[in-house]
């Protein structure tokens, strides 16, 4: 096997990976980025509406307000000190992106333009604030492009279309990763002092998802298989507005610009569920509302979807009812200018013109709040005491800091990846200066090589495509927006059967080496099954409802018993693994504790966990 040696190996070339690569490289490290996709194909590019930062360019705003919204949005499972860092660093990170050339839209004062987004408020929930910095409705695309461009300028080394399939752990230290070069099918060893996982999420566990086909949770699954715990896996966000049946995301920015959700009665139903924030309540709240409307027989044509209406006459009617200034009113040209990609998706895939007709939407599996546990410098944590694995780093969706708690606010995914990608990159640069090279074990890569031989040799009768579809269906039905003990047990049972078929009855048609996507898709399916299993088991264990985790048999949030993160680990044979789960990692409530120490009366405390009302 060919061996490559670099100070830092960055796995994944989305926003978090490229940010880490850029800052590690600026800090003097020799960096290699290893990605299964060409960097510009990464899923960061599909983020639409904006990146939150308290710049205050249009409304008065402060990082502490952003911190508050993030903690509240996370249903108080958010680690408070981490949320503060997120909100404070967001301001610098966004300014730096502009300095790198990112073409943000501008205000009349020539500054970065900002728009409203769900759950983002001024003065601790007083009113919605314009905080989401945007470049039309392709903010993620511009972030990805800008970071890739800067990496080219800084001559970062890229290994494009190399898929990382294992991590190398020597004496408790991460010494690199094993990858397959897709074009040749050959195994390569990447020997590094630091290995940085930025491999994104695993929305492909569910059948209706906004996620790319490539979002199969490779990094998180690799970590899990190497004995690392995963944190808060029961929390997976369903975004309320995916295109009906297809799951393609319709940005919250549509509602930020005044769009409203309407049921089959023509009613703006969010007024009942969230009297103040209405359609811009946090995503878990809105997704549940759509499901409840469906159950009550008020979905459109009784088919489980509702209408998202951004027609100017509708928007302006509600603006008028709310007493908004006429200057805020929109016309068709404004919709075209602010939401060009959304209009394009609807016209292409639905034949629906959102300027003239409402869009059919349903909740779509969107974002993993959980993942590889890290501290605020992207160092991977291996236990509830906060011990780290030297040489292992993670950031972005695959990591869990945890800033998103039980439910992520819109725009905070982009904030997360630039803030913690940047902090992690800086930390890596510092670490590799002092760290020694761990010698590679003699049989490096042998185990994963054998696993691939096993998959490639599959001559059973279960096609990966069929198993994937069954997994996605059971996850959607049993481990979706609403959960009960029965559904979760059913999900776990179904997954056990699929795991059995995956290991004993797999059928692989393609036996060749060059670009064997049949083989790679099968391996990715194995990753998804592991992550789906952990998700269902953590969800079964958490007997409360919090944020995106909604148990119909335990409807209330239970701070007394469940103010803790879950840590799940897996051991034993991959065909029949043993799972362990603990809730020993307590939520960081340090901002609230500071308020108590300062003698602030309870009714004036901002970070005390209280019931969320939008």
């Amino acid at each position: 096997m060919q061996v490559h040696k670099h100070d830092a190996i960055i796995i994944g070339a989305g926003g978090a990976g490229l940010m880490a690569a850029l800052y590690a490289s600026k800090g003097g490290a020799d960096v290699a980025v290893v990605s299964k996709l060409y960097p510009t194909r990464s899923h960061t590019g599909t983020a639409q509406g904006g990146i939150g930062a308290a710049l205050g360019n249009l409304d008065e705003d402060k990082p502490i307000y952003h911190t508050y919204d993030t903690v509240k949005g996370g249903d108080y499972l958010t680690d408070q000190a981490a949320a503060k860092i997120l909100a404070e660093n967001a301001v610098d990170a966004v300014i730096e992106l502009e300095h790198m050339g990112l073409p943000f839209d501008r205000t009349s004062a020539k500054r970065i333009s900002q728009r409203r987004f769900g759950g983002h408020t001024r003065n601790f929930g007083e009113e919605l604030v314009r905080r989401a910095c945007h470049a039309a409705d392709r903010t993620g695309h511009m972030i990805l492009q800008t970071l890739y461009q800067q990496c080219i300028k800084n001559e970062v080394s890229f290994f494009d279309e190399f898929q990382v399939v294992d991590m190398i752990v020597v004496d408790g230290v991460c010494a690199g990763v094993v990858a397959i070069e897709l074009g040749s099918g050959e195994f390569h060893i990447f020997h590094g002092k630091a290995s940085f996982f930025a491999t994104g999420g695993w929305g492909r566990c569910w059948s209706v998802t906004s996620n790319a086909h490539s979002l199969t949770g490779d990094g998180a699954a690799i970590a899990l298989r190497r004995g690392l715990p995963l944190e808060d896996m029961e929390f997976f966000q369903f975004h309320p507005t995916g295109i009906y049946r297809m799951g393609i995301l319709i940005t919250e920015g549509v509602r930020g610009e005044g769009g409203v959700l309407i049921n089959s009665q023509g009613e703006r139903f969010m007024e009942r569920y969230a009297p103040s924030a209405k359609d811009l309540a946090s995503r878990d709240v809105v997704s549940r509302a759509i499901y409840l409307e469906t159950r009550a027989g008020r979905s459109i044509k009784d088919r489980g979807y509702v209408h998202l209406d951004v027609r100017p006459q509708t928007v302006n009617r509600y603006f008028a009812e709310e007493g908004r200034d006429r200057g805020d009113f929109i016309d068709a040209a404004a919709v075209e200018r602010k939401l060009p990609d959304i209009l394009d998706f609807c016209r292409t895939y639905l034949g629906v013109d959102p300027v003239k007709e409402p869009m059919p939407v349903q909740p779509t599996a969107h974002y993993a709040m959980g993942g590889i546990p890290t501290n605020v410098d992207a160092e991977v944590i291996i236990d509830a005491a906060g011990a780290i694995m030297p040489g292992a780093y993670a950031a972005g969706e695959t990591a869990c800091v945890s800033v998103h708690g039980a439910n992520r606010l819109g725009t905070n995914s982009l904030v997360d990846l630039v803030v913690f990608g940047r902090r992690g990159g800086m930390k890596v640069a510092e670490y590799v200066k002092g760290a020694d090279w761990k010698p590679l074990p003699a049989n490096v890569g042998a185990e994963i090589h054998a696993e691939f031989d096993r998959i490639r040799g599959g001559s059973g009768s279960s096609r990966p495509g069929e198993l994937r579809q069954l997994m996605q269906q059971t996850m959607m039905e049993n481990v979706g927006v609403f959960r009960t003990e029965e559904t979760l047990q059913q999900g776990i049972e179904d997954l056990a059967e699929l795991r059995e078929r995956f290991h004993k009855d797999l059928q692989i048609d393609d036996k060749s080496r060059v670009f064997n996507t049949d083989l790679m898709e099968a391996w990715e399916l194995g990753c998804l099954i592991d992550l789906a299993d952990v998700t269902a088991r953590a969800a079964l264990e958490r007997k409360e409802s919090r944020g995106a985790h909604s148990r119909e048999d335990f409807k209330a949030r239970d701070d007394e018993n469940w103010m803790a993160h879950s840590l799940a680990s897996m051991s034993g044979e991959m065909s029949d693994p043993h799972f362990e789960l603990n809730f020993d990692l307590k939520v960081d409530l340090s901002l609230w504790e500071e308020e108590i120490a300062q003698g602030i009366p309870e009714d004036q405390q901002k970070f005390r966990p209280i019931e969320r009302v939008y």
């Binding site: 300014i95 300095h99 050339g101 501008r106 020539k110 695309h141 394009d344 895939y349 990966p464």
Partner: protein, 247 residues
């Protein structure tokens, strides 16, 4: 509806399949609103796992699945069955070496991209207040159209000038350069114009217009190339695109 697919195939790894050949597949119960990507996945997942293609986001943003479909360059995830009918022909994009089936070697394409300095350059000190550089929205809109490029290669591989001469940087690289040349904050416009005025730069463009309808992002590619040509001829970047006729 039933749809017959005729797919151009090739696998350097399998004796007898090293050379390109056509293979037909029939799919039953195809929904007219299915994306071509979904139908290719059905073929791969239900009939023949060896069928190889690149794809990721499945909604026209990542740029992975550019193919020649019924003779026209498109993203497989952004064209529906109903727009093509009951016989659909799929082959790799032209002008690049084929690796396997619908997968081509993208390295020459990204080489051309890297040649045009596709990154922001501004050596001035950062604003003293620690904030963003200033730009008017009108100036921002001058280059809005070319910021949409997803590097899918639909334009470049539909260009007869590129087919005739693979050293021509091609429409996509020019679009990428345009995005910076007309950004009022950028300072390397002149260097990019110098690069593009060389023999394999913009003058290989014969204004054939294939690139514009090929673009899945609806960028006015030929117009952007024209603006770069005009900037080279006039030796300046300011005043080439009028704000009131910005894309």
């Amino acid at each position: 509806m039933d749809v017959t697919f005729k797919i151009r195939r090739q696998n350097p790894d399998i004796p007898g399949k090293e050379k390109p050949y056509w293979q037909e597949f029939v799919l039953r119960d195809v929904d007219p609103t299915d994306r071509i990507l979904e139908t290719l996945h059905r073929i791969k997942w239900e009939q023949d796992g060896t069928l190889s293609l690149r794809r990721s986001c499945a909604h026209g943003i990542c740029g992975s699945d550019a193919m020649r479909i019924n003779g026209v360059n498109r993203l497989a995830c952004k064209i529906l069955v109903r727009d093509l009918g009951e016989r659909i022909q799929v082959e790799p994009i032209l002008g690049m070496p084929v690796i396997k089936d619908l997968i081509v070697d993208m390295e020459p394409f990204f080489d051309h991209y890297r040649q045009v300095m596709p990154f922001f350059v501004n050596e001035d000190p950062l604003p003293a207040d620690g904030r963003e550089r200033l730009q008017t929205q009108a100036d921002r809109e001058l280059f809005d159209d070319t910021t949409k490029c997803i590097l899918c290669a639909c334009c470049t591989t539909s260009c007869p000038s590129f087919w005739a001469n693979g050293h021509y940087v091609g429409p996509a690289a020019i679009v990428q350069a345009h995005r910076f040349i007309f950004d009022t904050r950028d300072q390397a416009g002149k260097e990019r114009l110098d690069i593009l005025s060389e023999p394999n730069g913009v003058w290989r463009c014969r204004t054939i217009f294939n690139c514009t309808p090929a673009c899945p992002r609806e960028i006015e590619v030929t117009k952007a190339i024209g603006e770069v040509k005009l900037a080279i001829r006039k030796g300046k970047t300011v005043g080439i695109i009028q704000p009131n006729v910005a894309h």
